[in-house]
């Protein structure tokens, strides 16, 4: 079975988010890019499955929709252990566009499983995985926190309120994974880093697909007003502030 992992290239979680002066696009100057954390866990789980010879996993491919600037992130995935990588050469514009690209790649490659993260840590759309399954007309299972094989059959677990749910699903399918799918992301080992440059990274042109949405503007949360200190015995002033400034009384 071949596994395809959809990798979203996202800014490091400690990045200080800035927008262009007209607030319509994200300013990526000085940003450190990483593999979307959920996608990284999906990759880790796929590697674990592949390394256990009793599982029927033959190949792990990673794919991203993005510009050449996303390639270091793909090579990182190769260093962690993926066998090959595909970059769909397009700027990702909206979830439908991205999902269409990924569905095209998935349909092309005889993949038994398509793994997606539950959301991307930048745009938090939580949309791509479901859309891929819809476009391909294959099943999808969301919020997957466990992925194993039982006698060649896939068994997925989902966390539900107060417990767990086990699901079996015929391949090919889309699994949208969440935390728990793997314990900790793997650190790229030196050997993997050295091997990554020799592994195939294929660039494919974007398929025709529509974007349904377009961002109009971004807005930062209002900065918190500085707190005011009122002397403990100056009750009058406190009441005054609460009434006239905070307007809560």
């Amino acid at each position: 079975m071949r596994i395809l992992i959809c990798i979203s290239n996202v800014p490091d979680t400690t990045t200080k988010v800035k927008f262009s002066t007209d607030n319509t696009s994200f300013d990526d100057g000085g940003v450190q890019w990483i593999i979307n954390p959920w996608d990284e866990l999906a990759l880790t789980r796929a590697m674990e499955l592949k390394e256990d010879a009793s599982n029927p996993v033959s190949n792990v491919t990673v794919v991203t929709v993005g510009s050449p600037a996303a390639e270091p992130t793909l090579r990182k995935a190769l260093a962690i252990g993926a066998d090959d990588a595909i970059r769909v050469d397009a700027v990702s514009t909206d979830a439908h566009f991205v999902a269409s690209q990924l569905a095209a790649v998935a349909a092309n490659g005889d993949f038994g499983v398509v793994l997606c993260g539950i959301e991307s840590s930048d745009y938090n759309g939580s949309a791509v995985g479901g859309m891929i399954s819809e476009i391909m007309g294959i099943p999808s299972v969301s919020a997957v926190s466990e992925f194993k094989f039982d006698g060649g059959e896939v068994v997925l677990s989902r966390d539900i309120d107060g417990g767990k749910e086990e699901v079996s699903v015929p391949a090919p399918f889309v699994a949208i994974v969440q935390k728990g799918i793997a314990k900790e992301p793997r650190i790229a080992a030196m050997r993997g880093i050295m091997m990554a440059r020799k592994k195939p990274l294929q660039v494919v042109p974007a398929a025709d697909a529509e974007s349904f949405t377009a961002y109009q503007a971004f807005a930062m949360p209002e900065p918190k007003a500085p707190c005011k200190m009122v002397d403990a015995d100056n009750v009058k002033e406190l009441v005054n502030l609460l009434q006239n400034e905070a307007k809560v009384l």
């Binding site: 260093a79 650190i187 030196m190 050997r191 440059r197």
Partner: protein, 594 residues
């Protein structure tokens, strides 16, 4: 072509360096960055969560961390592939040392193992020794330690009394003696031990294995900092060491020890950058949270000054360390290509760069001490509390001025190397000094500043070098053979040399960065260079005057004084505003971002 371009150690004092010949961190390639990320990930997932347990020296923990590093290949980054390493160049080694340098005690254990614990065998071992030990050291199956220091032989390492005597059957050396302050001693398997054979006046080196009979250990030393690193006294009681475990030739030990230390010193320069960046992150994050007088303390000018100066010192260290690394990388490649013993040829390259290595060791360790000290200060009372990490950084920093040769020893060694290279005519020190004296004689006031920001900085640095050269010449002529006893003067000159090297490195980095990114994108770096060069000029002037007034009289004194006045002059800089801009960027990003 290659030949002509090769920079030699100490050459910076007598020649201009081209920005093309230096390396700056902006040039790290994708693979190097990925290696750096793995090092960082390792610290974040494996080391930082257990720092307290490391400091409590939990049984087996440090060793298991080193083994895990080995599994990831981090112990073999520069080890050749034939010994299960990854054959990366020296710059990559330095970069990974920088990143891992933030790892408190783990960083010390790591550096000890990969540096002094492994490299003597890699570089000086014969084929059998390398085959037997190096692969296992590179993968972490074996852990290494280095035993030079003795209770009675610290700075004067060659005075050690550990003895090795050939057994009657000629099959073993019987080793007796005691070593002190041995890092990783608690769990290391392989020890490079320096001892004197019979009545030799110089050391030889041996490879000892932990389970050889007769090796015993004292309990762990109780230390001021790096509490999690293992440091013990090691005793050798009639230890039978197979003759084939002698490392290098008889009597070659001291040379091995020194060359390994040259390498260790420059690596220490890389280590401190990682620690400093971490301490800066902690400082700015605290300053961005803590309010006093109804105001974040990061908004106070006095705090901004500290934050900015932490950044400047760290940035300056980084400029110099990577500059030296590239020169070394080239020298290693050249030396290996032209020699027949890869190990010894590599070490010869390190020997060549003794001046730069000592400069980086001294400047880097003192820069870090500044950074962590102000880090504590920015934290106020919380800085003095063991609750925050900054106190650990503060305590852990202090060792860097002591080991790998104390900073005093390194300052003296630095000038000594320059003088020797001058005497051997490797560097035209005296000739250029003579010229500088002539120039001063003919001078009429401060030289007109050159046009242009870069050109002005070039001029300052070139002039500061003249002060150094004049001092070297005047002091040598005055004291001749007794100059070695004038340590105060030698240390002054050494400090001038260090400041010049670092100032020039900052300017070179600026040149290269601006060529890469354009002037506009490098404005904040110009601020750093402005402040650093301005400060360096004042420091050089002070050190140079201290030296001058300590020995010079009459015409020489007048000329030196005039030279110092004219050659260390720099245009005024609004350091307050420059530092504020640097601090503001740091405060805005809330982490080291330069």
């Amino acid at each position: 072509m290659e030949e002509k371009k090769l920079i030699t150690g100490g050459e910076f004092l007598v020649k201009e360096t081209s920005p093309d010949d230096i390396f700056i961190p902006e040039e790290l390639d994708e693979e190097q960055r990925m290696i750096g990320e793995s090092c960082k990930d390792f610290l974040e997932t494996e080391v930082f969560p257990v720092v307290d347990r490391i400091d409590a020296q939990e049984e087996g923990l440090m060793r298991s961390l080193l083994e895990k590093s080995g599994e990831l290949g981090l112990l073999g980054i520069t080890i050749p592939e034939e010994y299960d390493g990854f054959g990366q160049n020296f710059i990559t080694a330095m970069y990974s040392s920088e990143v891992l340098g933030a790892g408190y005690s783990y960083a010390v254990a790591y550096s000890c193992h990969t540096g002094i614990g492994t490299l003597p065998i890699l570089y000086y071992g014969n084929e059998e020794q390398r085959a037997k030990y190096v692969s296992k050291l590179a993968t972490g199956e074996l852990i290494g330690a280095y035993c030079l220091t003795e209770p009675g032989a610290g700075s004067d390492a060659n005075s050690g009394t550990t003895k090795a005597v050939l057994s009657e059957d000629g099959k073993h050396y019987i080793v007796n003696g005691a070593k002190m302050w041995i890092t990783n001693a608690g769990f290391a398997d392989v020890f490079t031990v320096f001892a004197k054979i019979d009545n030799d006046r110089v050391l030889s080196a041996f490879i000892l294995e932990r389970d050889y009979e007769g090796i015993t250990f004292n309990p762990e030393e109780k230390k001021l900092g790096i509490k999690g690193s293992s440091t013990r006294q090691v005793f050798f009681n009639d230890v039978k060491v197979p003759v084939e475990n002698m490392l290098g030739k008889r009597g070659e030990g001291f040379r091995i020890a020194l060359n390994i230390l040259h390498m260790g010193r420059i690596k220490l320069g890389a280590n401190v950058i990682g620690s400093a960046k971490k301490a800066i992150d902690q400082s700015v994050q605290y300053a961005n949270e803590r309010k006093q007088f109804n105001c974040l303390i990061s908004q106070f000018g006095a705090i901004k000054h500290k934050l900015a100066e932490q950044v400047i010192q760290t940035f300056a260290t980084e400029c110099s360390v990577y500059r030296a690394s590239k020169a070394l990388d080239n020298a290693i490649t050249h030396s290996v290509a032209n020699g027949d013993d890869k190990g010894r040829d590599t070490m010869e390259a390190f020997n060549q760069f003794a001046v730069e290595a000592a400069a980086m060791k001294v400047f880097g360790s003192e820069a870090l001490d500044y950074v962590v000290d102000e880090g504590v200060q920015i934290h106020g009372g919380m800085g003095y509390s063991a609750e925050m990490f900054i106190d650990k950084g503060y305590r852990d920093s202090r060792i860097n001025r002591i080991f790998e040769g104390t900073n005093e020893i390194n300052r003296l060694l630095l000038v000594d190397s320059v003088l020797k290279k001058g005497a051997k005519k490797v560097l035209p020190v005296m000739e250029l000094a003579e010229k500088a004296f002539e120039e001063v004689k003919a001078m009429n006031g401060i030289p007109a500043p050159a046009e242009g920001w870069i050109e002005e900085k070039d001029q300052y640095v070139a002039n500061q070098k003249k002060v150094v050269l004049m001092l070297l010449k005047a002091a040598s002529e005055k004291f001749n053979r007794t100059l070695v006893t004038e340590q105060e003067i030698l240390s002054n000159i050494s400090d001038c040399i260090i400041q010049v090297y670092v100032a020039e490195s900052v300017v070179l980095r600026l040149k290269k960065m601006e060529a890469m990114k354009g002037e506009e994108a490098c404005k904040i770096y110009r601020d750093m260079a402005d402040v650093f060069v301005y400060d360096a000029a004042a420091r050089i002037a002070k050190f140079a005057r201290d030296a001058t007034y300590s020995f010079a009289y009459g015409e020489v004194r007048d000329l030196l004084e005039k030279g110092i006045n004219n050659f260390t002059w720099v245009a005024g800089v609004n350091v307050k505003e420059a530092r504020r801009r640097i601090a503001d960027q740091l405060i805005d990003e809330n982490k080291y971002c330069f």
